[in-house]
Symmetry: none
Subunit: 131 residues, 2 copies
DNA sequence: ACAATTGTACTAGGATATTAGGACAATGCG
DNA sequence: CGCATTGTCCTAATATCCTAGTACAATTGT
């Protein structure tokens, strides 16, 4: 279900966390969807159940999942305040990339142009997918 | 010469590395400029010479510096392919942010505005640090 | 050639991060 | 209620990271 690479240097729990987060934010895991149990996923990935639990817990704290003991872990519905929280994350990511971009010699204009270019890319892609 | 913050949580060597990288890419350290010796900088920053050496070595591997044993460490001309590689990386990160932002309901204009806001933030900060 | 100066290799201590094992707690369902 | 299933707490072993100390190697310049 989630493919990981133990030799990538990136900790397993981080890989898993980002995979799940991505599937949630991209909508490939719809709100309400029940995720595998920590033990199922642990066996599947050949890791410890606690490692999976850590991922679920952190994603819950960050507002992406909702875990109910005895029942399971579910993708959370996106409410208004939650949307705000995730927007904060986008801002955070933007801040990081601006810092890095400027550090690497990008000018402000180049950064903005690059952003616009990526926006156009995705727009074009959307248009092709659903004309 | 390089101001660091031991309590920032960011490892010393990383802080130093990014400072130097920034000064190189921004042109404040011109190609050919000789950097302080590892011992000079170590004394100045009250850290170990090996820590400085690590920074110099990594920046050399990444193409920003050129170190010659017995002589010193010099700023290198940042080549086109290096710049292109960095650029690809930033583009890739931007693509992910755009995807996530649009999924959260950002409009194109909001994304661009948010990026500009972050640019201004950092720009102001830079101005305070080195007017 | 020699001595001073440069960066580097090797090592290790200490801190932090990552993963795992086993017992526990909350929930659902017969 | 009783049992199975769920996530979680506590603990500990292990790995990794960061920094420093010391000795070494390459270069420079006299």
């Amino acid at each position: 279900m989630f493919q990981l690479d133990p030799r990538s240097g990136v900790p397993i729990y981080l890989q898993l966390k980002e995979r799940i987060r991505h599937q949630v934010t991209s909508g490939r895991l719809a709100p309400g969807t029940r995720l595998p149990t920590v033990r199922e996923l642990a066996v599947d990935l050949r890791i410890n159940a606690n490692t999976v639990s850590r991922v679920y817990s952190e994603l819950q704290r960050e507002g992406y999942l909702e875990t109910r003991q005895g029942s399971g872990t579910y993708v959370r519905e996106v409410g208004r305040d939650l949307r705000e929280a995730r927007r904060d994350r986008v801002r955070e990511l933007l801040r990081e990339i601006v810092a890095e971009g400027l550090n690497l010699g990008y000018t402000q204009e180049e950064l903005i142009a690059a952003l616009k270019a990526e926006i156009d890319r995705i727009h074009d892609k959307d248009r092709r997918d659903s004309p």
